[in-house]
């Protein structure tokens, strides 16, 4: 049995706690938080707030917001134990106080309202020694089927790509929903198409999956759409994404 101590107990920490406790090879022995009173009693796990109370463990997993990682890392009263953070954006170097460092980044959007299915969560790992990487891989492998070794530079790009496919895509859903609302159309009419669009990329590269007037360079439809969005908050987005699609397939033909 290997011991993990969680530092921070927000959405990621809470979800990780449950998942780690369900493994056979790892257990959470302590959780360190700012205010212990906010954490409910957890069987077999002590909740502490003072770094001096930290006991020895195989891995200290920092699950706090990006801005707080360095401070928390510096507060740990040792420098020879494996410390990893769980952030997509922070470099491993924010843990520089420690000699054994790593990253354990779960690429998923965590929210209180929805339970995470850990076996499908891609885990992006980084460590500065083979041994420590192996420990992270063991933990990752006991939680998920999707384990990736990813360096800091790649992780930054994944984080950026995640913003594109999650935050930006969701915002497009929002804009489409608004358009529906403005014209008394139930948004659910679009649900099947939304699911079809995302499901398709599991089978087809997005370059091939592309359809629609911009891909066909169908000026008649594009002009009709432009006329409809003119002067609305959609105008710039429609224009820019359309040009980007046209440019993509224009290039392809050259």
């Amino acid at each position: 049995m290997q011991d993990v101590i969680l530092i921070g107990y927000g959405n990621v920490g809470q979800s990780l706690y449950k998942a780690i406790q369900a493994t056979s090879g790892f257990r959470v022995t302590q959780i360190m938080v700012r205010t212990t009173a906010k954490v409910p009693g957890l069987p077999g796990t002590r909740v502490i707030s003072d770094p001096k109370d930290l006991i020895k463990a195989d891995l200290y997993l920092i699950c706090v917001s990006d801005d707080a990682i360095r401070e928390v890392s510096n507060s740990l009263p040792f420098d020879d134990r494996l410390v990893a953070h769980t952030s997509g954006a922070a470099p491993v170097s924010v843990l520089e106080k420690h000699r054994r460092t790593g990253v354990f980044y779960p690429l998923q959007s965590f929210s209180k309202s929805k339970e995470v299915v850990w076996k499908d969560v891609p885990l992006c790992l980084e460590a500065n020694s083979v041994q420590d990487l192996n420990l992270l891989k063991q933990l990752a492998g006991s939680l998920s089927q999707r384990v990736y070794e990813i360096n800091t530079e790649q992780r930054k790009k994944i984080h950026l790509a995640a913003v594109i496919v999650n935050n930006f895509v969701n915002h497009l859903y929002y804009l489409a929903e608004n358009l529906c609302k403005d014209h008394d159309i139930p948004f659910e009419v679009l649900h099947p198409l939304i699911m079809e669009t995302s499901g398709k990329i599991l089978q087809l590269p997005p370059l091939e999956a592309q359809t629609g007037p911009a891909r066909r360079n169908d000026q008649k439809t594009l002009n009709s759409h432009l006329l409809q969005v003119k002067g609305t908050s959609l105008e710039e987005i429609y224009t820019l994404l359309t040009s980007s699609i046209i440019a993509t397939y224009g290039r392809e033909k050259l």
Copy 2:
């Protein structure tokens, strides 16, 4: 048994043919195409190319490209039978030669490579009499669980919204895939997040589902991302969608 004649036999026509033949209340008695030699023999259905050979039917369903609908409609040698087209963008008025007209618009992206599950396809119906609308509703209801009465103006907006949630979203997938490729990251690392993002909107309005640096107005992360996309084809798109998200939640707080 009610008789349907399909005019046009592309992706939509072929898929509709199979689906209608599988119903108990409707059958396809004829298919009219430009070149009969291109259509394989179909049991119980005659393939014709001359409008003079059209027999009497309860519904003539035009499944040709938008540009050809009017011409095809005008070529039909009668004006007292129900004629409907299947386009999201064309107004019902392109069928003006006829006295009984309608629209039967399946809101789904059809491709040869993937079989359509008709029961989940939203069918947007329009007709200029209650009786004809009822016939379209009967046919629609025997194919799909999602039947909507949608007027021409609404249909135009749905078509525009579909471009946003399908074409634009897929293009964002493409841009994210490119970013991954450029940094030796397997695109599949993003698959679970993509599925999570689309699946979420079945339960949560996109306005609430939004997460990420732009929603939090997290300037540090936004600046880091901007620095990374500077000078690339992502720069404008990143900037515009980020401002749009910030504006959305800025407005919310007022």
